[in-house]
Symmetry: C2
Subunit: 634 residues, 2 copies
């Protein structure tokens, strides 16, 4: 037995067998995350809201009793089995915690590659090799004057400015190198680095898409424009919640919390840059610039800007202009004089990732009427062409990423990613990521499930289960009717994987939000679906969805499949282009003048359009002529 | 008795009665300075060279034996009395140290006020008060866009850039103040501060002259241009040596030492600014800019730039261009977005204080041929007019500031500042600063002494004592002949205050260096003394010297006294002007184009001119027609 005044105890996590030291009175989720043990917590673990941090504790004598929240979210049968929510479980002494598969944070399928657009290589940073006359009693100009006049002579560049850090190391470097130097120069004439001898063939940059859950990055050789390597890491901020609203809520607690999220974002960026450089055998001091894009919340958190007002109507950012900052001012560890460029964000929920999307697809130069949908918790939609682009953000919610769905999960290993249902037997056939035993359902499979259930008549066009269909897979569960996608003995979680009536309702809200966004933009533009000549689908799970099924459920407008192109991580591609082309950066201001933000909440027809988009595929069947006949209406 | 392995002991300083803890093996000087006990150390205490850190220790059983250096510098009689040099005394256990008056660092007479020139008030920083429309669902522009467009509308200013720090605090300030804000703007459109409500009448700047031994500063109200208050502090770097070469030598040891001198300079500036603000009841956050001038070594040390090469031929600075830096990048504690402006330096030994001198005297716009001498350890000389200005720096050395002179000292309380000698009796009459009992001789009195001794024939025009003069005041001492200025019973140091043959030689070198500088500039310009229509004498001790005596010894050219003006701390005045006038800053580049630096060491006639300037007043008597007859040649 532990004494009352003992401050620490240890808990053991199974099946990993890890023992960690924890404070009495702390909750299990926070203790686990602090020790690097990944337990899902889509809500950020500070609300007891998402119900994803399920753990199993057989001997609960050293824990508090289940809370009201746990009783509501877990249901009687799970409580009986020893299920608890880690965020609600207060440690009173030694406990042994079992982390079931469905609660583990797993390796995600990574969408790094995106559409590639060629641009003329003209980075903002260049290197000049110079040999400078030595100082003498006849020529006692200052070190800076000596360099400046040589550069003027040889390269015809006037008006240099020197960073203080450069001035501090210049005298020694210059003399050690016998005045044989390489000068690294910003576009505006700022000298950001001085290196001994000729290093003009070592000039690198990193493009980064700082996503809510993932940071993906590309290391680019700025001498020839080649992509050397890309990689993706989890955003370390996920320990404070997997969705953006959790981050806003956490940061709103106070400066300390905001700074913590900033620190984590910076740490994440530093890790991925270090990792890329190591893997590619590139000296990190030869990385001179980072171009970073992201949604507006990530953009603000990375900079340490208040995100509170991004979460409150009218959702205004602090700044939307581009920023060109010193890396060391942001604690970003590249070359000491290095820079971080952040292209403009467009609105509170349209970030610089959307700006980058427009660049990599060349959206703003297309003649034909085009649509781009970047699917995510917030789905950004752009509609237009070279003359004008309307854009909006839909609060599509985390349903397609696994949030608020009983067995929903992100596209990590073990997730069911494809499903078909036999129209006679109502049996399900599925495929998981990595071919593992299933532990849940990810977004692409949810689209399949809904479409298949519509096609075989398991649900009606309002999304309600038809209880007259006779199959053991359709049954009444704790949360209303549910369809069994995988039986417990096939899974790795020891229970049936189902999709419930409530889940369907959540998915309906999500798809309605997205389609409603498309529809309102079309109306504001005065066009119909048939006028759309080109559709780009971007985003992490974009490449894996079945387009026909997406049209059947009314997630995307009924545009012929051959006009639809998956562009993958178009945001990262856009960041890469911005790294390579200073001309494009200059054009940005004019490009973005074409972009008009449409605040959906302020549109008078928003409610009507949203409600009309709830049925499958839509209240107005005529909007989906190519798929409407596939739906089994009995 | 102390055990061998005991690491610390204590020493007691008298007459203060302070006990401090010290490390065994440390020297007394370093230990004292570290504890804030001021002991003179003109050489920086790392050479055992200046002999100024004399202390008396009666019981020397816990000390090392006197070193070779001590035996040379102190002489037998002093050693017998228990004199030691603090820098040479190694602590082996408890000791009781007596610090004699002449070794104490005392309050200096301060030259803060200088010539005042009127300029049109147009600071680089301005404040704008704006009332901004609140965000709404119909107007969801970002905070920055909202401010930018209001400023564009109301003040017709385009293209603002926001500091990251401002962006971080903007959302809260704006909402707390109900969008009633004051924006502080740099000339280049950078927003450096955002404050709630109307603060447009609180806008201050500080002008600073960072001298080798003193930091003097003025607090200026930038709304009306008024000087609110000036003050002066010791430069905290003096603990590492009182002259500039000691600082260069200390900084050359390594980065740690350079950084320590930087830290001390920054600390000194922060102290004086804080102090001025407190005394004037001004919120330090309403100080937005500092203009700092100083010699090139101080300029470099303040910025943390390598000073090593300023001490080695060809004495090149790292940079001579003007710099406009963020205060927080330099750890200067004013408004968080505040700036520090440093005008250009001219050469390794011609700093931005000389630039400021030229501005405050309007030297570069004068029609008549003019001369400016800024007296100090390095004496800067400018000769010219609106068309061209030649300038040079003379290594006049510390003699006139007390260095290398047996009883020499700075102009602090107790220093003899004026002397006359009766031509019949050879008796000396003196006046001390503060009317205290004398403890040494400062520069102005040294000029008087030399001139008086020349007039009454105590020395010849080569500076040699005439031993045929019969007076008890002229006697043979340990270092050759010496003249007693004050008998021991009149002084506060318990010994006679004398001027030795060696002292005279030192002063001769100093005055020859200065005159030689003037002479070479005149020759390069092709003019004679009679062509000089105006002379400015600047510098700390300038205002206190007897001009006729200065001419008798040949320190300054023989220009009629009515053409000579004391301009005091012209450098601080110049810094004040630069704080008030952004136009003058813009003109600086063109003004400095008129200034040609003459490297004396590189002049073929330097040696000849220097040697000719050694006799009193000069080898060529015709150069000093107005005073030559005052000298008693027997």
């Amino acid at each position: 037995m532990l004494k009352e005044n003992q401050e620490f105890t240890s808990i053991i996590f199974e099946p990993m067998g890890r023992r960690i030291k924890v404070k009495l009175g702390d909750n299990i989720l926070r203790s686990a995350l602090r020790s690097g043990i990944g337990i899902r917590n889509e809500c950020g673990g500070i609300f007891g809201k998402c119900g994803k941090c399920k753990i199993i504790i057989k001997d609960q004598s050293n824990l508090n009793s289940p809370t009201k929240v746990e009783r509501e979210l877990l249901g009687e049968s799970e409580l009986k089995k020893g299920y608890r929510l880690a965020c609600q479980s207060i440690i009173r002494g030694e406990v042994r915690v079992f982390v079931p598969e469905e609660s583990k944070i797993r390796k995600r399928r990574l969408q790094i590659f995106g559409i590639k657009r060629e641009v003329r290589l003209k980075p903002t940073i260049k290197k000049l090799h110079i040999k400078i006359p030595h100082p003498s009693i006849q020529d006692n100009r200052s070190d800076v004057e000596r360099i400046t006049s040589t550069i003027k002579e040889v390269y015809n560049i006037h008006e240099l400015k020197f960073n203080l850090e450069v001035l501090r190391e210049l005298p020694k470097i210059a003399r050690d190198a016998n005045w044989d130097l390489t000068i690294t120069l910003m576009d505006d004439g700022t000298v950001i680095s001085v290196e001994p001898r000729d290093t003009t063939n070592s000039l690198y940059g990193v493009a980064i898409d700082l996503g809510t859950s993932k940071i993906v990055a590309s290391l680019i050789d700025l001498i020839n424009g080649n992509l050397i390597m890309s990689n993706g890491f989890d955003n370390p901020q996920v320990i404070y919640g997997e969705d953006i609203i959790s981050r806003i809520t956490y940061a709103a607690i106070g400066k300390e919390q905001l700074d913590e999220l900033k620190r984590l974002a910076v740490e994440g960026v530093n890790s991925i840059v270090t990792d890329l450089c190591k893997a590619a055998n590139v000296d990190i001091n030869n990385v001179y610039e980072i171009v970073l894009v992201g949604n507006t919340v990530m953009h603000h958190l990375f900079l340490g800007l208040e995100t509170k007002y991004l979460g409150l109507s009218p959702y205004v950012p602090v700044i939307n202009d581009q920023l060109n900052l010193r890396a060391n001012e942001l604690n970003i560890q590249i070359n000491n004089g290095g820079r971080v460029y952040l292209p403009p964000v467009i609105a509170g929920f349209i970030g610089s990732d959307n700006t980058a999307d427009l660049l990599s697809t060349n959206f703003y130069e297309i003649e034909d009427m085009s649509l781009m949908i970047d699917l995510g918790t917030n789905t950004e939609i752009n509609l237009g062409n070279k003359d004008e682009i309307l854009c909006c953000s839909c609060a599509s919610g985390p349903a397609f990423e696994g949030g608020h769905i009983k067995h929903g999960m992100k596209a990590v290993e073990g997730a069911i990613e494809k499903v078909s249902i036999n129209h006679q037997t109502y049996e399900a056939h599925y495929k998981t990521i990595g071919g593992l035993r299933p532990i849940g359902i990810c977004g692409s499979a949810m689209i399949d499930l809904l479409a298949e259930m519509l096609k075989c008549g398991l649900i009606d066009n309002r999304g309600r289960y038809r209880n007259e269909v006779k199959t053991p897979r359709l049954r009444k569960g704790e949360f209303g009717y549910e369809y069994v996608v995988a039986w417990f003995n096939e899974t790795d979680i020891g229970e049936d994987i189902v999709i419930t009536q409530t889940d369907i309702a959540e998915l309906q809200l999500a798809k309605a939000a997205i389609y409603c966004g498309c529809r309102i933009l079309m109306k504001r533009k005065g066009i119909e679906t048939r006028d759309i000549k080109k559709v780009f689908i971007a985003g992490a799970f974009g490449g894996y969805i079945n387009l026909n099924n997406a049209k059947i459920i009314g997630l995307i407008p009924d545009v012929p499949t051959e006009r639809i192109e998956f562009v993958g991580n178009a945001a990262l591609s856009g960041a890469e282009i911005l790294l390579k082309s200073k001309e494009l950066r200059k054009d940005l201001k004019n490009i973005l003048k074409k972009v008009k933000y449409v605040e959906l909440g302020a549109q008078p027809d928003f409610n009507e359009e949203f409600l009309s988009a709830l049925p499958f595929p839509h209240l107005k069947k005529e909007l989906f002529p190519s798929v409407i006949n596939l739906i089994n209406t009995h």
